[in-house]
């Protein structure tokens, strides 16, 4: 088979599954729906693995070509094209593998849901969209994939569209992403305007020449073209990858079913921004200002979102805030010019975060859709597989040596330490402090869920304490005092086990080729002189085992251990301590600040959104109702309608009128043009 056919088949196989399950979902059985979608994704995964093998082991040349030209306007081509190099191949494998796991997991998780076929259709459609995004070789297709994943995310967050909270959450996600996409689109527009092309390769080739180009945004403000472009593109990434201050949609997106929280809102879609910036490394490398911006935004996200994870009681929200914080880590790596490290963390994170989410989903199923960790405890006896795999995921997340998360996160911290950008010292503090916080909230959740007393027996006021909308819904009835949690079926636990394996091993095996080998050579570009972080890292690296042993001498590991110990003491040994601390922080108002998520939602909803609505109302009343509707639309329509009635009268039905009109027409034509000829002679 021709390679081009394979590349085409990879995104089209899930699309086919999505179309079958979506359009004919009413006609086919659940079994058929999940078989066809899983088959599509499985084909896609196997082919992706084949492609990755070809590039890594057999040295197949990267592919960059157009598959189909959609249209050509003024010499600018809008193409569907694929750029398949090591970065793409790796992303393809991650996306399809996690997607495959989630597909299988969904069979168990969504078993009782009436929207079963619809759900499979959506997640397959998502896989298609994500593949189009990562395989793009031009900005148009990138934008298509970008919007398509956003659309599917919107559909899936609001999957249970009868829940008001879910529809609110999906609207919020959509709107916040619009803000990011607006910047993204402006960035693409700048690229088109100044580079005259939308093809990656052509843009990158021109970038060094335009290093000193400037753009005047408004009179008196002249900026470097590349800085503005990169920041605009990064604003797109901030929306999609939930970076501060556009992060607010991600925690709310947990309203969606857990499989998609794992697939879309942890492992793949939210990393699109990271992927995009890595892809654009030849542009970002030329602007220190933009990199610094990226670095600071990432550091804020990494640190402050971690704090919020500590006070959450909803199991999915804890994982969601940890995702935000980890995305911040990746962004910090990007800012430090360690693109390969960011992508490496992206990959390891995809595995262990998907694992954690699916584990949380399994717990939720075992708890009969109760998500409050205060009602859990001691689940390790009842759900052994979920327990072990969640432990593995948590260890990977906090960066235990030899686990995958250790290699990627430690590399990020090292890279930041070597960066010379103005924001680097703050970023370094943020990522190091983040280690402790990550360990603390991860193990807080772990201990509360799997260890300690079995609290669902004496279910107290907590269940209704929050009076969350969740609790009122039929899906959230929770466990009665006499029920017992149960281990999930094999379709749920199998993906957990399969995800746990790479969560442990992938870092150990992949760090050397990905970060220090030739894996990303020619794909990710960095300026060795201006941003020497990767070079320094390479000098210090003496193999994965040495790295793990060396970590014993660094504060990072001890901070992580400290976090774990602290959470053990607080939640297993002496629950009075956190209660006391809680009282103290409540007294000084920090608790309120955290509960209200730094008041970001208030700012957006009561500030921007309200202002927008007031403005909108004014425009609507004056502009739309009075001017456009009244004067222009209805006015025009009335005039046209009047003439319509008049011309209609001409059609009398009498043949002599018709013939008369014809003769008259001929006569006018004759007089006019013959007259013209006569006059001209």
């Amino acid at each position: 088979m021709d390679m081009k056919t394979i590349y085409l088949l990879i995104p089209l196989a899930p699309l086919f599954g999505a179309l079958v399950a979506g359009l004919f979902g009413w006609a086919i059985s659940r079994r058929a729906a999940h078989c066809v979608t899983i088959a599509g994704v499985a084909v896609s995964f196997l082919l992706s693995a084949f492609v990755l093998k070809g590039i890594v082991l057999d040295g197949v040349e990267p592919f960059n070509g157009t598959v189909y030209t959609w249209l050509t306007v003024n010499g600018i081509e809008f193409n569907v094209g694929f750029l398949v190099d090591s970065l793409t191949a790796m992303m393809m494998c991650v996306v399809t593998f996690v997607s495959l796991m989630v597909h299988i997991y969904t069979i168990g998780y969504m078993e009782e849901d009436p929207g079963y076929n619809r759900f499979f259709s959506y997640i397959s459609l998502f896989t298609f969209s994500m593949l189009m995004l990562v395989m793009a070789n031009n900005f148009v297709q990138l934008f298509f994939g970008w919007e398509a994943v956003g659309l599917v995310s919107y559909l899936l967050i609001g999957f249970w569209f009868k829940r008001p909270t879910a529809t609110f959450a999906n609207l919020k996600a959509f709107l916040v992403n619009r803000v990011g996409d607006f910047g993204f689109l402006l960035g693409i527009g700048l690229v088109l305007a100044y580079f005259g092309t939308l093809d990656y390769a052509a843009v990158f080739a021109q970038a060094p020449a335009l290093k000193d180009a400037t753009v005047t945004l408004f009179p008196g403000a002249t900026w470097s073209l590349l800085t503005v472009t990169c920041i605009l593109l990064f604003i797109g990434a901030m929306g999609k990858s939930a970076q501060f201050p556009l992060h607010v949609w991600l925690p709310d997106s947990m309203e969606g079913p857990t499989p998609i929280s794992a697939l879309i809102h942890a492992a793949t879609m939210v990393t699109a921004g990271i992927f995009m910036v890595s892809r654009m490394s030849p542009l970002f490398e030329l602007s220190d200002t933009a990199l610094n911006f990226v670095l600071v935004i990432g550091a804020i996200t990494a640190l402050f979102m971690g704090f919020l994870g500590i006070i959450q009681n909803d199991i999915k929200r804890v994982v969601a805030y940890s995702t935000l914080s980890q995305l911040g880590y990746m962004t910090v790596a990007l800012g430090a010019s360690a693109y390969s490290v960011a992508v490496f963390h992206l990959m390891t994170h995809a595995f262990f975060k998907a694992l954690l989410f699916l584990g949380a989903g399994s717990v939720i199923m075992g708890m009969h859709h109760d998500q409050d960790i205060r009602n859990m405890g001691g689940l390790r006896k009842y759900m052994p597989i979920t327990w072990i795999t969640s432990l593995v995921g948590s260890l990977a997340l906090i960066g235990t040596p030899f686990f995958s998360g250790f290699y990627s996160k430690d590399s990020i911290i090292e890279a930041v330490a070597e960066s010379h950008l103005p924001g680097a010292s703050f970023a370094y503090f943020a990522v190091v402090a983040g280690v402790f916080i990550t360990a603390f909230y991860s193990f807080r959740m772990y201990f509360l869920v799997f260890h300690g007393k079995e609290r669902w027996m004496a279910k107290d006021h907590h269940a209704h304490h929050e009076a969350d909308a969740h609790d009122e819904d039929e899906h959230h009835h929770g466990l009665g005092p006499n029920d017992k949690p149960h281990e999930s079926p094999w379709v749920v636990t199998l993906p957990l086990v399969l995800l746990a394996i790479p969560s442990v091993l992938i870092g150990y095996f992949a760090i050397e080729p990905m970060l220090y080998g030739k894996f990303f050579e020619g794909v990710i570009f960095f300026n060795h002189e201006a941003h020497p972080a990767m070079e320094m890292l390479k000098e210090e690296f003496h193999g994965p085992v040495a790295m793990a042993l060396h970590s014993l001498q660094t504060p990072v590991l001890w901070l992580a251990i400290g976090g774990v110990v602290a959470s053990y003491v607080f939640y297993m040994v002496a629950p009075a301590i956190p209660a006391a601390i809680d009282r103290f922080f409540t007294a000084i108002g920090v608790r309120k600040l955290l509960e209200e998520k730094y008041y970001m939602d208030h700012l957006y909803i009561d500030g921007f959104a309200r202002f927008g609505r007031v403005l909108g109302t004014v425009f609507w009343k004056v502009g739309d109702v009075l001017m456009i509707d009244g004067l222009m639309v209805n006015g025009t329509a009335k005039v046209v309608g009047f003439f319509s009635k008049v011309t209609r009268r001409l059609q009398t039905g009498y043949i002599y009128h018709y013939a008369f009109a014809m003769i008259l027409g001929a006569l006018v034509l004759m007089t006019w043009w013959l007259g013209g000829v006569l006059v001209s002679q």
Binding site: G641, R648, I655, Y658, A666
Partner: protein
């Protein structure tokens, strides 16, 4: 004087036409010996003949023009492609109209033979390069159409429509012939290429030629249904059986395009300055009157009639540009409009059944609840006609407007766009009626599976072509490139 021989005739070039004529005669003879119960044999034979004609056209396709019948007949890409379009249009009409004709007693041999004769006339029109042959083709088409309109003899509306069509058509034919005779007088030739040469060498009397052009444009305007020669169209579309309306509204527009190309773009190219401005007046009037009057219609067939008038305004704008790009855009418009109109009428027939004509817009009420699939199909047709992007109609309009803007005729482009916006109103009204109102008619759709399948393919084609319009447009542009100045 040269004696004609078989070899000088070069009749092989006209194989599709000759085959079609023989097939028509054969079907005529076979049909008179068939009982009513076996009428479907004629139907199948007719379709087979049409498919075979199409295959012959494809097989004989060549970019290099070939003359036949002593230079009176040409087979060039323009002719071949438009003939292919016409064959498709006629096939669609027969497939969609089968059930409709059967329940109305129109499923007779005359339907098939007259349709085939009309097609033969159209094919001759497309291939003729001699004024007399052009005229013969036109008359063959027209006479067949007059008879077809009157096919439903017991319906007074049909006969009235046929009578109007016949009388006005005769008048228009007379004017056209008169114009041709003037051009003949001015150039002493009936041959398209000779006339072009004479005009190029300034050997034609300008006054006389322009006088002739006025009448030719009048005749052509009638055939296209351009304002002010359009009055027949609404009455005929409305009065004729819907399958005949479909025939009149689709394939002959392609033939008329080829016909105009032969006369105006090839023979009278040297006087483009004069006929361009005449066409411009007709085009603008057609756009305005067609679109504005369509709004007041409650009968969907009449609405289609006015919509056709406005579409022909667009077509004329493309021809009026008198540039290769303009001609190509007009050709593209004619071909895609043929497909769109066929689908539109097909959908009307789909909803009709014995004793019920779905010819009011109100009959489409709540179609979405009765049949979501065909509501979606009608949606595609309406969007395509309104020129909404992704559907093929958008690209057809875009090509025309590009040609106009390329010539600097921005004000014409603005009128065209404005009128399209007005036009969108009545197309979208049909969509609104289908999707947002409750059905008054709950009878199931009675059409056969063949019609449903072909209709769906037809409608989806409007969408698929809209996604990849480049290929068709390029093919048509190339065809015109090789046809307009063959350099024989």
């Amino acid at each position: 004087m040269n004696i004609m021989t078989w070899s000088s005739l070069n009749a092989g070039v006209a194989t599709p036409e000759i085959f079609l004529l023989c097939a028509t005669c054969a079907i005529l003879l076979i049909d008179v010996f068939l009982s009513d119960a076996k009428r479907h044999i004629s139907y199948v034979l007719t379709l087979a003949a049409l498919v075979a004609t199409g295959c012959l056209l494809v097989a004989g396709y060549s970019l290099q023009p070939q003359l036949a019948f002593n230079g009176m007949f040409i087979a060039d890409p323009l002719a071949s492609l438009s003939k292919l379009g016409m064959v498709v249009g006629v096939i669609l009409m027969l497939v969609y109209g089968r059930g409709y004709a059967a329940v109305r007693g129109l499923f007779r041999g005359e339907l098939f033979t007259l349709t085939l004769c009309a097609l033969l006339g159209m094919m001759v029109m497309a291939s003729a390069v001699n004024f007399v042959v052009l005229y013969v083709g036109l008359e063959l088409l027209s006479l067949s159409l007059y008879a077809l309109v009157a096919l439903q003899r017991t319906s007074s509306r049909s006969t009235e429509a046929a009578m109007k069509y016949f009388i006005l058509g005769a008048l228009a034919s007379g004017l056209l012939l008169y114009g041709m005779s003037m051009v003949y007088g001015a150039t002493q030739s009936l041959d398209v290429f000779v006339i072009a040469q004479k005009i190029a060498h300034d050997e034609a009397n300008r006054l006389l030629t322009v006088f002739g052009i006025v009448f030719i444009v009048t005749g052509l305007g009638f055939k296209l249904g351009a304002v002010p020669f359009h009055m027949w169209a609404p009455d005929v579309y409305d009065g004729a059986p819907t399958l005949v309306s479909q025939l009149i509204g689709s394939a002959p527009k392609v033939a008329a395009f080829a016909f105009i190309m032969r006369i105006l773009a090839q023979a009278l190219e040297g006087f483009a300055f004069d006929w361009r401005s005449m066409l411009m007046v007709l085009a603008v009037l057609s756009l305005v009157i067609g679109n504005v009057t369509a709004i007041a219609q409650v009968n969907i067939k009449r609405m289609f009639a006015y919509s056709t008038i406005s579409h022909m305004g667009f077509l004329l704008l493309g021809i009026m540009a008198a540039t290769p790009g303009g001609y190509a855009a007009a050709f593209f418009y004619a071909m895609t409009y043929m497909l769109t109109a066929a689908a539109g009428f097909g959908l009307i027939m789909l909803l009709s059944r014995e004793g019920f004509e779905a010819d009011q817009i109100a009959d489409f009420r709540g179609l979405n609840k009765r049949s979501p699939w065909f509501a979606a199909m009608m949606l595609i047709v309406m969007f395509s006609m309104a020129g909404i992007p992704v559907f093929i109609g958008f690209f057809a309009k875009l090509a025309i407007i590009q040609a106009l803007v390329g010539l600097g005729l921005v004000w014409l482009a603005v009128i065209a766009v404005l009128m399209s916006v007005i036009g969108a109103f009545y197309y979208l009204r049909v969509v609104k009626v289908m999707y947002f109102e409750d059905p008054t008619d709950t009878a199931p759709i009675a059409a056969g599976a063949d019609a449903k399948l072909v209709l769906s393919v037809n409608c989806l084609l409007l969408l698929v072509l809209g996604m990849a319009p480049d290929r068709l447009l390029t093919a048509l542009t190339t065809a015109l490139q090789f046809s307009l100045h063959p350099g024989l």
